[in-house]
Symmetry: C2
Subunit: 407 residues, 2 copies
């Protein structure tokens, strides 16, 4: 008798951003005259860079002629792109990677979601709290998370690493008597708190992972937003090649949210039980994936060209200015806010003992501004609210004016 994957039935409600979308759609339908400003989901608003657009047109033209047509590409990505990521993105930070340690995919969400395939279904997983829901939900789907406990809002087989104002949203390393995780998800600059991690703190995690034999799954999707002297890649830390996988994305780097491009780095030294994890991921990708679009990979190549780099720096500066405006505005209103300096996310302490969803409803109703309730990212996110810097200047300023009126 056919059964479904029963782990799916353990998932409470649906995906956070789908819930928000439904609430906003309902509000819009009820109030068609209100102009809603979306600072919720981390989607960009600025167009692709001119040199990226030019590369896309050229690649489309390649597909118009048999002599230059590209069919199936390598599942791991084209060499031209893997090489450029190694030589441009990593080498300038002193990180030496072989191109075949870089696996190009269709985005960090897919890769962070699918990476669990290559690990034992009983592996013990540690996640930050609050956390990007994909890490938790995909482990719930595979059974690693155990059962959801509505009373605590937590899964009973996950190790939670609280990220609070007290620890600057950078979790403490478990003590020697605490159970050691097998897999540790870290995301810095952090989604949702906007916190960054210092080289020293990251070194602590790398040392810990090596000591207990864990693998760190490091999501560096927001590294382009770092303004201070902080590590952009976990591989800037000695020893990380033996214990870490890094996920990167073109989405926030170059506005590729609608284009779908990212990459995952698995160094050859990363071996578990005598097996290279890069070999397992390669097997996974060659069997269940057929490569990212050729056209999109050419666009990715253009991002790392000299002109492309100059252009995307301007767009990133545009969003960084939004982060500055939101941060300064909220502080001026006497609110408590974190993040925004090295990340496109701002983490607002909800005022007046409002719950996260309470503030969501209040802002949607009174200011027609959409943010993301912190509790959607985990119990430690309760009492917080995420705002993103990806809006337009105009909307970001308008949102701040509206907030000024209600706070």
């Amino acid at each position: 008798m056919l059964k479904i994957n029963e782990n799916y039935m353990k998932l409470p409600g649906s995906y956070l951003f789908s819930d928000i979308a439904r609430k906003v759609a309902a509000f819009s339908a009820a109030h068609p005259d209100r102009k809603i400003i979306r600072l919720g989901i981390g989607d960009v608003t600025q167009p692709l860079a001119p040199s990226v657009i030019a590369a896309l047109h050229r690649a489309v033209d390649d597909q118009a002629s048999a002599a230059t047509f590209h069919g199936y590409g390598p599942e791991q990505g084209y060499d031209f792109l893997r090489r450029q990521i190694a030589e441009t993105h990593y080498l300038r930070r002193g990180v030496k990677l072989e191109p075949d340690e870089i696996f190009v995919g269709d985005g960090a969400k897919s890769d962070t979601g699918n990476i669990g395939d290559i690990f034992d279904p009983n592996a013990v997983v540690a996640v930050c709290d609050p956390v990007y829901p994909v890490y938790v939900d995909t482990n719930a789907m595979s059974g690693r998370a155990g059962n959801y406990q509505p009373s605590s809002g937590r899964w009973d087989r996950l190790i939670y690493l609280p990220c609070t104002a007290e620890n600057q949203f950078c979790p403490e390393i478990p003590g020697p008597s605490a159970p050691a995780p097998d897999l540790i998800y870290l995301c810095y600059p952090n989604n949702p708190t906007g916190a960054a991690i210092t080289a020293q703190a990251l070194r602590g995690w790398v040392d810990y992972a090596r000591r207990v034999g864990a693998v760190i799954l490091y999501d560096a999707a927001y590294e382009a937003y770092i303004t201070e002297d902080l590590p952009h890649s976990i591989f800037e830390v000695d020893g990380a090649r033996e214990c870490a996988i890094e996920f990167c994305s073109f989405s926030k780097l170059a506005g590729f949210t609608g284009m779908r491009l990212g990459y995952t780095v698995i160094p050859k030294e990363l071996v578990v039980g005598g097996v290279k994890l890069s070999t397992l991921w390669n097997r996974r990708q060659t069997t269940k994936f057929n490569g990212a679009s050729y056209v999109t990979q050419r666009a990715g190549e253009a991002v790392f060209s000299e002109r492309g780099q100059e252009e995307i720096r301007q767009t990133i500066a545009y969003y960084q200015e939004n982060a500055r405006v939101i941060r300064a505005g909220l502080l001026q209103m006497g609110l408590t806010v974190y993040g925004g300096t090295n990340a496109p996310y701002l983490w607002l302490k909800t005022p007046n003992v409002l719950s996260s969803w309470g503030l969501f409803d209040y802002l949607l109703e009174k200011a027609n501004v959409v943010g993301t309730p912190g509790s959607g990212f985990g119990p430690c996110g309760e009492g917080y609210f995420r705002l993103t810097a990806f809006g337009t200047h105009e909307n970001t300023r308008l949102a701040m004016e509206r907030l000024q009126n209600i706070f």
Copy 2:
């Protein structure tokens, strides 16, 4: 202590097409002067249709301006594309689908590879023999296939459905005393044998699946190559909405192998254990996938425009002519060949008691023609060899001339 997914270690060797690519690369390196003709992997050679190219350029221009920029799209695909697939592709065959029963993805390989996520890890799986390796390998990775038995070339938890010349490569329905599978993978027109399935035979499978409570995973990636009066979709058969999931692709339909676009149809009546499978797949996709590229989805929309349909019909006719040439040529050489009439694949009986890999080496060496060894698709493929119709006219004719010289 972290462990890997041990099922990966049970996989013998690597993915079939990677093996072939390596052999061909080695031969090329040793004989740089020889012009190799590839009729092995099912990759297309003709450029995208003019109206598809035009749509791609327009969509790229959309991404160049904030007013028309598209960031994250719906994980399930844009409504414009889902609606058009329902209204153009399905309705003309009398199949009524709601757009939200159609899930747009980045290709049938990903979707057929990932669909297993939503089912119980102990589900009993039936596959044809020979078979597209993705169905087997992905079930091996999840543990459903059990252990690989080198002596038989089979996995000990899979039910194999032999497809032989005797049954016209259309498997017989298991008898009442045979163990019933929970999941049944069927692919028609078939990869690798090139066989088609009649409405009557398909009805037999649908009735069987409903009787035993199984779900049919129906891969219709090659339906555009049907020339006779045969079902293009399993949903042309009464009752299929209660027992079947269908996978379709733009790869062979419109040359999108390098563009990455496909879709999966899960009717709302398809319920297992009281749960709609469409709900589970939606949860899987919203959690582990972030939608197909906006630009590519606009290209998919153009495929179903009136002009697009006319243009892709010409390209399909081009490949069908190759199939005719290969089939006629092989028959003229006195060889036994199947398929090619309703499919872009031809299934050649190896002559002179050669093994499949024996013929592969012989053709590579003597004719510099690359095909796919039938044994790579399963034990019943031994003694067969797959050729594809996706080459150019010139190369296809040249390959036939070279074969004429050695047979």
